[in-house]
Symmetry: C2
Subunit: 547 residues, 2 copies
């Protein structure tokens, strides 16, 4: 009879099975035993300065790597990642949350152990609200099966799960040998066949079909299928802001970002006038739908996501999203003729001048300079709306919390991006307000020897909110961001005001490898990109109408 | 018929009734309407850089002011204060959490609005776990009564409450006039009389009685009663680490900090050998009980807290804690003779030398230099254990998260302390690890023109954990903390290594008013105070025994 592994070592092995190579977090006494196991395992422990930084890094890592993990101590650690994990839930990022906790033998008589809030189960009860599966590994004989279940749920739903490890069980072995059993959801091949038959008929009959691709195409690893699908059928592809970069934006069939009335008019016309709209992996959120200005006729739509497959106004249960996309790509699709919907190439941005740089010109300069080995990691607000029109090249990535929109995501996320794919150099776009929340996670960037390029759009406050309702509460203290390298003892920083200063700083940053670069771009408080103008106007209207 | 106030303005007025003058937070679009109301109210809005900073500041403010409040946006804001609010729950700090949320009319058909995690009630369900009352003000006709109930619960239990304000109801007035009704808990005066009678008889019969005072004495405003009680009866007073400073540590009846085997032997002997131990407002946590090395005989104890009154092994229900303390102070207590248990005065620390400063000497120097107008705000770890032996003077305050022990509390907390009582100058004791979590909240210190003295105990890692189990995960990047003023454009910083450098920097900091001072004290990674040595040893034993 084979010896069972310890609970801790089994968890580590199963994480590796799913491709996890790094784990983010901060130790604490309830999780120190497991940290010791991690330290002696092939997994690399990435200590951050703060737990939410670990959460955002693990989220970004999961988006690129297929699964990510965060490991923290009980309550003071766990509750500090709640917001980052909620964001991963909302945007379908498969993050495994591992928390140490008081040993089962310490819990007898319900003592007031440090870090405990109300009862020993308070933390689990909270995480049940923001995960798709959760388990306290309090019984050695079932612990391994619970690990299997949680990781399978994380993989299947592309959403966070919660695993709590009482510290006196980390090194315990179950009494009986364990055989991993994965209970997969049951699908009906006849339903799949019928759905594909109907979808193909509608697509082949259509004169102006369009594909609207969103984030699940990426999460379920279907980007190559999408490319094959559009190339075989010649159906053009628009994407949402949350789904940006699921297809190369240089692809001839690429239409642009669809965002209802918020986005570019040509893209809106093509999507909303489509006589068959194939929506793949879409999350119908307010931001994705241009604050509900989208006018999508479900009667002409085929919608396929991990949660449902529907055609017109009827739905197919028990059809798997990935299988549907695979089958569709291989089906007998007619080749549509080209309609020349691709966006006109932008005019060259021209030489940088000595005048003050504007948001629009800043994005133009960045756009022209993005290279294939760069991943754009975008925070919330002005930078997100400005980034809509950045052209993401083949094989690069665009990562942003475009639905949950939690400020402070980008700097820590860049750590996850760089570790998930060392060939990608992150370019972080972040506002001054968001940087003040989590930007000092650059400390971890230094500790890990990473070299993102950080562009701080410094407009001295919460500019998106200024467009909705302005008040002194939208102003924040000015930081000399460019001097942060002096605190951290590494990195290079520069504050810029003019176009020429920016392009020179960008060139220096690109050449400066092995350490981070930070360019703080001074902007006028109300300067903005066209997309933010449209969005702010709409949101202000919503706010006043909501009264 | 009087016109009803709007829901938002009623909430603001009721907060003022409870003495709230400042409200901490960060705006977001779901709460901008209420921010506008706040801005036009007598309440002062204190914008922080990050929501958890607002949570810690509100917690500290509540501890000194009697109630505190934090105001954030939906989910991305609310979930970011979950950990700070959990700490306030654990340590009984009356914090009102106000969160904006999507308007009720926006929720029809359950759309995917930005910031939403799973359902519209997810955030409330999470806060139900870490508050004593919660309400979504979704009905104008009941909203004002719900506000009354939540604030009364916060006041009564000295624990956080949660109030969610859908943004389309902020400016709405109820149809009917509202009369505030406070439903108070019903107590039984006969039970009180019986309990007092028994307590007095036991105290008067005792030969070696001792009072053990804890944090609830402070929270329920009973510090003056405690002083009167010990002065009338001449019974000596020990306090717990969480209750430190509920009585002046220069008071002749003051015994010292009781912490089981972790604390000083004389205090332990006096408390554990008492033939009648009057425990007032005690939280029987592991840290307070010296990691459960306390040996308290409940058969010889009178325990009074807001949750129960018990004498020996029987309990009195329906007796109010505050009424019990009031009545006891006024009862016919025999005057015990003095037993000379007060700690011997410390020998003078002597002249500072040019040698490297140690933790022990650092605390000795600080101790000698603390003045009456200073409040010690202490973070977790080495600084907390070192601070056990600091002598807090009359009228000063000691604030620390000594039970929940969430790192990163102190710097943001100092903002709450300074605003709650502008006559107190905070002295912040914080480790390098904790500072890296939240220390950049000094940005808010600058914005508000406050002048705390920040002492960073820089030992390059998580030293408390090094004593439990050491590994590379306990090492962190070194920051040049003293240069942070250059980032923020204000403040004064100095790194020190020797005793003389420290005392000179302290003198400069004391003289430098109106801006913060930061002294980064270089320490050896394993240098520590005696208390941490004892504690770390005990916790390491717990960790290995728990296997």
């Amino acid at each position: 009879m084979a010896t069972s592994p310890t609970i801790g070592s089994y968890l580590i092995r199963r994480l590796q099975d799913y491709g996890v190579r790094h784990i983010f977090g901060i130790p604490g006494d309830y999780v120190l035993g497991f940290y010791d196991q991690l330290q002696n395992s092939p997994l690399k422990v990435i200590g951050t300065t703060k737990e939410d930084g670990a959460g955002f890094a693990a989220d970004a890592y999961a988006r690129i790597n297929g699964m990510g993990a965060v490991c923290v101590t009980y309550c003071v650690g766990g509750l500090s990642v709640a917001n980052a994990v909620a964001g991963a839930y909302a945007e379908k990022s498969p993050v495994v949350v591992i928390s140490g906790s008081p040993g089962m033998r310490e819990r007898i008589d319900d003592p007031l152990l440090h870090h405990k809030v109300r009862s020993f189960s308070t933390q689990k009860e909270i995480f049940e609200k923001i995960t798709v599966a959760s388990a306290v590994l309090d019984d050695p004989d079932t612990a391994l099966a619970r690990i299997d279940e949680c990781l399978a749920a994380c993989w299947q739903h592309k959403r966070p799960v919660y695993i709590e490890l009482p510290r006196d069980l980390v090194d315990v072995r179950p009494r009986y040998p364990h055989r991993a059993v994965t209970r997969e959801r049951q699908f009906d091949p006849r339903a799949l066949k019928e759905a594909i038959g109907e979808a193909v008929a509608r697509l082949n009959r259509a004169k102006r079909p369009v594909i609207l691709a969103d984030v699940e195409v990426h999460r379920f690893g279907l980007a190559e299928e999408l490319r094959a699908l559009t190339e075989r059928s010649n159906i053009p592809v628009a994407v949402t802001i949350l789904g940006k970069s699921v297809i190369s934006e240089l692809h001839p069939n690429y239409l642009g970002i669809y965002e209802g009335a918020m986005g570019r008019a040509e893209v809106r016309a093509a999507v909303e006038d489509a006589d068959c709209l194939l929506m793949l992996g879409t999350v119908l959120s307010d931001v994705n739908l241009g604050i509900f200005t989208a006018e999508l006729d479900h009667g002409r739509a085929i919608e396929a996501t991990s949660e449902l497959i529907s055609i017109s106004r009827h739905r197919y249960d028990r059809v798997d999203f990935a299988q549907f996309v695979h089958a569709l790509t291989r089906a007998k699709l007619r080749r549509h003729r080209s309609r020349n919907l691709a966006p006109a190439p932008k005019p060259p941005v021209g030489e940088p001048r000595d005048c003050a740089i504007t948001v629009t010109r800043l994005f133009d300069f960045i756009d022209e300079r993005l290279s294939e080995d760069m991943a754009v990691v975008c925070d919330v607000g002005l930078c997100l709306f400005g980034a809509i029109d950045l052209v993401i090249h083949r094989k690069t990535e665009f990562i942003a919390p475009a639905y949950y929109t939690s400020m402070g995501f980008a700097v820590p996320a860049s750590i996850g991006v760089a570790l998930a794919n060392p060939r990608l150099r992150p370019v972080v776009l972040v506002g001054d307000g968001a940087f003040q929340m989590t930007g000092m996670e650059l400390s971890t960037v230094v500790a890990q020897g990473l070299d993102p390029i950080i562009i701080v759009l410094n407009n001295h406050g919460y500019t998106t909110e200024r467009f909705i309702k302005d008040g002194p509460y939208n102003d924040i203290l000015n930081w000399r961001f460019e001097r942060i390298p002096e605190i951290l003892g590494s990195g290079w920083g520069r504050a810029v005001r003019s176009e020429r200063e920016f392009t020179e700083a960008w060139a220096t940053a690109c050449a400066y490898r092995g350490r981070f670069s930070l360019i703080a771009v001074e902007l006028e408080p109300f300067d903005h990109c066209p997309a933010l103008g449209r969005l702010g106007e709409r949101m202000a209207r919503n706010l006043s109408q909501s009264k």
